[in-house]
Amino acid sequence: MEPELLLGSTLALVLAVVFAPPRAPRANLLTWGLLGLAGMAAIAIAPTLDLIVLILLVLAVLQARLASHRDFATRLRAPVLAVVLLALGLALERMQGPVVLDRFGAVGIVAGLAAAVGLLPYAHEFDPEESLVASPIPWIAFVGPLLAAAVVSRASGVVAADAGDAFGAMLIGLGLLNMLWGAVGSWRTENDAAAWRYSFMSDWGLALCGFGLAIADGRAAALIILFSIVLGRLPLYLWSRQALREKVPTDRPINLVVAAVLAGSAPFAGFPARVLLLRGATQLYWPLALVLAAAMLLWLPGSLRLGRSMGVPRGRQAVGVAIVLALNVLLGVYPQPLLTLAGL
């Protein structure tokens, strides 16, 4: 799953740089994007979770060193918490002791993952005025997907069988929390940029549920969702920043199409992911599918708001939006090549 996500992230970076708005700092974006990609490549090839945690620490320090509205220590808090939790979780899993220790280890890994990505209840502090590269957005939308895939896949070899259920249940629980909070937050919060951040969270909720289901359908759903974050939501957010500053909501058809992409409507990538998620949940425990199906409806109001906040893309940006839409349609209608590539 990691190589595919690395590929997706690379493509997202290319899109972001090539079709960036005129006043966007392209060089900065490219430099830090490439650095992030290097870190992600290292994560993808890292053989153990220990190394992944160390790479995560490096990336966190490097990002925290960027000029930002928030101070260095504040920006490092959540990633360091993630590193510590992951490390403690790993240590507990590796010790011989009662089962509850294994479960606590699972808690550490899951909480560490949430903290690394910036999901509830370990959300990173968010400043809407902050530059993109220095903000928590790269964690939740660029590095996070691959990191999560790597952590979950490596953790399966570390987490004891007795704690496997707790591991999955926690992922699903945090997934539901993020889905609900993110969907409601992206709808109700006052600030449009914060709404975008919450919308990432809600998508992550689906991905966590997918990982938590621990069956092929769940993993496939998570992969598609993560791809849609990297190749859909992230570029769209990037291109919406200018309009967010200008605070001019628009109601053109393109805004509705973007809203449809963000809401996971058919035929965009979110839809098959939801179908797979429902299938996985049905196999595991059907009431979960009911809860998921109900929660999936919460995406719409927030997505409509975000779609309207995007303004009317023009010039290169419009081309970029068209490419993102096309990719999402392709992924939504025919995800099989991606899943085959990922061995799912």
């Binding site: 808690v107 209840p121 704690a163 409507s265 035929p267 839809f271 179908v275 199906a293 719409l300």
Partner: protein, 550 residues
């Protein structure tokens, strides 16, 4: 015919959308020509694929990636519903002027709807139907964002529910393909999901739902197309359910409840129609009303009921095309359209409803009472139709989007199509019914001149042809100038409609009492949860640790 030809009815509108977009970006609006051509070509392709063989054809293009193969199938049901979608869509796309963006979206919507009908499995139908719904919302909002449109959430809920039903079938039965689902997999809960999806997708509710609301938009370009493409899809699911259930729903209670619900839907539409302030208001209720009758008969679970339902749906499709092109002014076009809508004998609507009511009696048990109810609802429709002939026209649509002659022609065709009821039944409805109900007990027969049911024979040609001639002579001799246009009071209002509106307003305006607001201060909650506070993190960790020890 190579099986790849099955793609043509979907691909041709898609191709048209591509061409329109390419030219549109170049500054040329090919909208009407290309979109119309795409839709007509798709219709032609459907006819060419189906008519020579008149047997099921399939095309398998491998797995799509969500447990569902990309398998298309054209059988009699797909053919029937394909026609229901394509004929009115082609009419409105050809005759209404629209921007290239709207035309491209319209063509895409047509392709998606046809895709939903051609899909061989529940999940694929959900994907295509969901796409059609998304495009419908975009079309409507793109045309006029302030005008009424279907609630996106409702449509999404419908197609998500269907997706869920599909994946349950995949998990429990190993497949969600209509033709291969084991009968035991279509359990009551799964069917309940499908029925819920069907009702929501077509807005089949007794209160004023989107199929009625969209007709009150200032412009009816997008509305007509959306009703043409989306409205039949909910019924399609209910018809296909017979195929999955081997000719019946999992429990007879579903038939009774859905058939009753259909009558209630038709009654709701009739009640609103008889109290409409304008003719446009009345016409807006026509499609939901016909839909209610169609639901009643489709849900009965008998061959006659299904045949009647399919004919009623074909009638609804024709009326959709007619109403989308009808101008907001008096004159013969409006009169003929109203006469056709209420089912004046010997119109197609008359024959279809007569068959539908007969089917309830022949269904046995208590279904006959549903037929009595349907007759009563029809009477309300008669009142509404008679009243509507003299109502003020309404809002006044832009002239370029109307085509009074074609609208009148379509209405006249439905009026004079009563004698062709048996032909429609034999060529159109019977094969579809036979596809989904393999056991022919109670099937409709009678050839091309009569409709023979268990208890009666309806000699449509022998009876309706002379009646039609008499009607033409009688109405031809009559003076229509006597009809006085005037505001007309409603005959009745349901006592509880006001209460429902009041309740809705109260719920919408409900707010938390002042003294409790601090408990649910969203901003404070937001800053606590997403503010990056270590104490919150620690507490969360403790909560997780506590949870895993349970």
């Amino acid at each position: 015919m190579p099986s790849i030809a099955l793609l043509a009815p979907v691909l041709l509108p898609l191709l048209a959308a591509g061409v329109i977009t390419a030219f549109g970006l170049g500054g040329f609006n090919l909208g009407r020509i290309a979109a119309g051509a795409g839709a007509w070509a798709a219709l032609l392709a459907l006819l060419v694929v189906w008519l020579p063989l008149r047997s099921t054809q399939e095309l398998d293009l491998g797995q799509l990636g969500f447990g569902s193969p990309f398998q298309l199938r054209i059988d009699a049901v797909a053919f029937a519903f394909g026609l229901m979608v394509l004929v009115p869509a082609a009419l409105v796309l050809t005759l209404q002027r629209r921007s290239w963006q709207a035309a491209a979206l319209g063509a895409l919507g047509v392709a998606a709807a046809v895709g939903a009908v051609e899909a061989s499995s529940v999940v694929l139908t959900a994907l295509a139907g969901g796409t059609a719904a998304t495009l419908a919302v975009i079309q409507l909002d793109g045309e006029d964002i302030r005008a009424p449109r279907p609630k996106w959430g409702m449509l999404l809920a419908a197609w998500l529910a269907l997706s869920w039903a599909g994946v349950i079938l995949q998990v429990r039965g190993g497949t969600a393909a209509y033709a291969a689902v084991p009968v035991s997999a279509l359990t009551p809960p799964v069917f309940a999901l499908i029925a819920f999806a069907g009702l929501l997708a077509s807005g089949l509710v007794p209160w004023r739902s989107w199929p009625a609301q969209v007709w009150s938009r200032p412009s009816l370009r997008a509305a007509g197309l959306v009703v043409a493409t989306l409205y039949p899809l909910g019924f399609y699911l209910l018809v296909r359910s017979y195929e999955m259930g081997d000719g019946r729903y999992p429990h007879i209670a579903f038939q009774a409840v859905l058939a009753t619900w259909g009558v209630v839907v038709a009654l709701g539409a009739a009640a609103r129609a008889q109290s409409a302030a304008t003719r446009r208001g009345f016409l807006g209720e026509v499609i939901p009303g016909i839909g209610g009758f169609a639901l009643m008969t489709v849900a009965l679970g008998t061959p006659l009921g299904l045949v009647a339902g399919l004919i009623t749906l074909a009638f609804a499709a024709a009326m959709t095309g007619c109403l989308a092109l009808l101008p907001d002014r008096g004159g013969p076009a409006s009169l003929v359209a109203i006469a056709a809508a209420v089912g004046l004998p010997p119109a197609l609507g008359f024959g279809a409803r007569i068959l539908g009511i007969e089917s309830t009696f022949e269904a046995g048990d208590f279904f006959g009472f549903i037929g009595v109810g349907a007759s009563i609802v029809w009477v309300v429709w008669m009142v509404a139709g008679a009243r509507a002939t003299g109502l003020p026209a309404g809002r006044g649509r832009p002239a370029p989007e109307t085509s009074p002659r074609v609208a009148m022609a379509v209405a006249v065709v439905t009026l004079v199509a009563g004698p062709a009821l048996a032909v429609i039944q034999s060529a159109y409805a019977n094969p579809a019914q036979a596809d989904v109900m393999p056991f022919p007990a109670g099937a409709v027969s009678g050839g091309l001149t009569s409709m023979v049911t268990v208890s009666t024979v309806l000699p449509v040609v022998a009876l309706f042809v002379p009646l039609l001639i008499i009607a033409v002579l009688a109405f031809g001799a009559a003076r229509s100038s006597l009809i006085r246009t005037q505001p007309r009071p409603p005959l009745f209002t349901f006592p509880w409609t006001g209460a429902i509106d009041r309740l809705r307003r109260e719920v919408a305006s409900a707010s938390l009492p002042e003294q409790y607001r601090s408990l649910l201060d969203l901003r404070a909650l937001e800053s606590a949860a997403a503010g990056g506070r270590p104490l919150v993190w620690l507490a969360s960790l403790a909560a997780l640790a506590f949870a895993v020890t349970r």
